[in-house]
Amino acid sequence: MNNYQIYSDAELLPLIRENKPVCDFAFDTLYKRYSGKLHSYCLFHSKNRVDADTVFHDTWVKFYLNIKSGNKVDNALSFLVTIARNIIIDNARSSSRKMNYITEMTDLTDLKSALPDNQLNENQSELIELIHLAVDSLDEIYKEPFVLKRYYDFSNEEIAKICGETVECIRKRITRATHKVRELIQSYINNEIE
């Protein structure tokens, strides 16, 4: 059998338009490659775990159907984030809530259930929770570019395109968000080092 994991995104995306079982293999490879990152994005930008899962589910379905219909995509993860963002905005509009709200804290138990506990020791688990809370506490206009930069390694240009802002604006927001998060978790990390 083929090892689809060695294929790049540019090679996998056209394979989704092929017949079974090739399209299944290609989709499965992309899913495993980006499901974690997309799920973290959905968690950061949703009220709770249930909403995050709904956004996550709808994002993948729309992604698959878009590719199948012939949509040309350069960057799979960027396309996924764009779809998720649009879904979140649509959901916010439909519930008559503005996008510029301070996100409710994600229930820590919901977050914990997403983490493979058997791979984490207690300190690691606590640190991850702390980082998540610190990032989640940011204002939306800072949180989104920060998550895309720190978690997904998007370039400032890609983030600017997704968020609909200028590159300079994105750069400044990322810097400020970094300082904010550092302030929140600095003392914990210092204690860990000591």
Binding site: N3, F27, D53, S113, A114, I131, N156
Partner: protein, 407 residues
């Protein structure tokens, strides 16, 4: 404060690669002079690293994954194909087909041994086998021939000759043909000397009656051999025909296994293999001692790489590594025939549901047993196929090894 904040921002921007060369030099100068700034640099590096690492711990639940796959009708049995052992040449089907091919070849070989060959099979000119009247370890009564022999032999009227030991590996000419040839030879030579010699020494003197119901075979031996010495070969000694092989009908069966190298080298591997992958069977008919034609059937794979347009008319490069059943015609020419070794070359034209194949090979047959040989070939195969009204091709070289059974 403002300046400190400014340099704190520059630290973050430097780590994100957003500073110009001038700004970097300015920052490094400040870092060299300010301990607290260096501490802040280390802190930001540490936090960025931990945030990036924490992203690995986000996973969707299995339920949501199952829901997505169900809605998109993704076959969960096909999840995560791994590099199979076939990529490393250790597919369980490769091993199985090799063992099965070897077992089939061994069964045919053993069947041939037990059914078609026999111990001490002897037949006389008339075609009767010695099994009907075994003479091993037995003695027979002999009747004098009409012609006389020398006095010593004549005195052994009704003498008994001990058993004739038949050698299974002896190949002898037809007795009547030998006698006829001898008579022709005699006519050419000096009649006087030969006839004297023959009169004195070589005339048939004994007739061995193997079975009173059957004809007799004249036995000729020289007068230096009083007893029949089966292991001594004499020029004119014509013992009973021993262990003739059945006359060849010109048909042979060849069973092969193959090891191949694709040109170009494969980058993907077959999603599944045929049951007898890299195995083949061929039936040959000998047109002459040096020429044979045949038909073959083989299960094989080819790696192909070609260009085309996908369903949306976009340029697409195809790579496939498919498994085929190929049917072909072969012509084999034996360039060199030694006792147990034959060197040959052959050409083959095959077809399958993908395209047409031309093959050229050179090889050797080594006889390990009468009518059974081991064959080894080095083969070049070239596949031609058509896609979207364009012709493409691919090649492979391989080593074929197997058994050849002659009927």
């Amino acid at each position: 404060m403002g300046e400190a904040m400014n340099y704190s921002d520059k630290i973050v921007e430097f780590l994100d690669g957003d500073l110009s060369a001038v700004e970097e030099n300015e920052l490094f100068s400040m870092l060299a002079a300010d301990n607290s700034l260096r501490g802040e640099l280390k802190s930001v590096i540490n936090i960025n690293s931990k945030i990036r690492n924490s992203s690995e711990y986000y996973h969707p639940s299995p339920d949501i994954t199952a829901s997505i796959y169900k809605d998109l009708k993704i076959d969960t049995n096909l999840i995560t194909p791994n590099i199979s052992a076939s990529a490393r040449g250790l597919s369980k089907w490769n091993i199985f087909s090799g063992l099965l091919g070897g077992a089939v070849a061994s069964m045919i070989f053993l069947t041939y041994i037990f059914v078609f060959s026999g111990n001490s099979e002897v037949r006389n000119v008339a075609g009767n086998t010695i099994d009907n009247y075994p003479i091993v370890s037995s003695t027979e009564d002999y009747q004098d021939s009409e012609k006389s022999f020398n006095s010593d032999l004549n005195s052994n009227k009704n003498s008994r000759i001990k058993h004739v030991t038949h050698e299974n590996t002896a190949r002898l000419k037809n007795t009547q043909n030998v006698i006829a040839n001898y008579e022709e030879q005699q006519a050419v030579e000096d009649k006087k000397n030969i006839s004297d010699l023959f009169e004195q020494k070589m005339k048939p003197t004994k007739t061995i009656v193997l079975n009173s119901n059957l004809g007799s075979i004249p036995l000729v031996h020289n007068n230096f051999v009083m007893a029949f010495e089966p292991n001594v070969k004499h020029d004119l000694l014509i013992p009973i025909e021993q262990n003739f092989s059945k006359s060849k009908i010109g048909l042979s069966l060849e069973i092969n296994g193959m090891a191949n190298w694709n040109l170009p080298k494969e980058t993907i591997y077959p999603s599944e293999l045929g049951k007898f992958n890299n195995s083949g069977v061929a039936l040959f008919y000998d047109l002459s001692n040096s020429m044979a034609i045949g038909a073959d059937l083989r299960q094989e794979t080819f790696f192909v790489r070609y260009n085309g347009l996908d369903s949306l008319k976009q340029f697409f490069q195809y790579q496939q590594h498919s498994s085929f059943t190929s049917f072909g015609l072969t012509a084999r020419y034996h360039a060199l025939n030694l006792n147990d070794l034959k060197i040959f070359s052959q050409g083959n034209f095959s077809t399958n549901n993908y395209g047409i194949i031309a093959r050229f090979a050179g090889g050797a047959e080594y006889y390990i047993y009468p009518d059974v040989s081991l064959s080894l070939l080095l083969e070049y195969s070239h596949l031609f196929f058509n896609h979207q009204n364009k012709w493409f091709d691919t090649r492979k070289i391989g080593i074929n090894y197997g058994f050849n059974f002659k009927f």
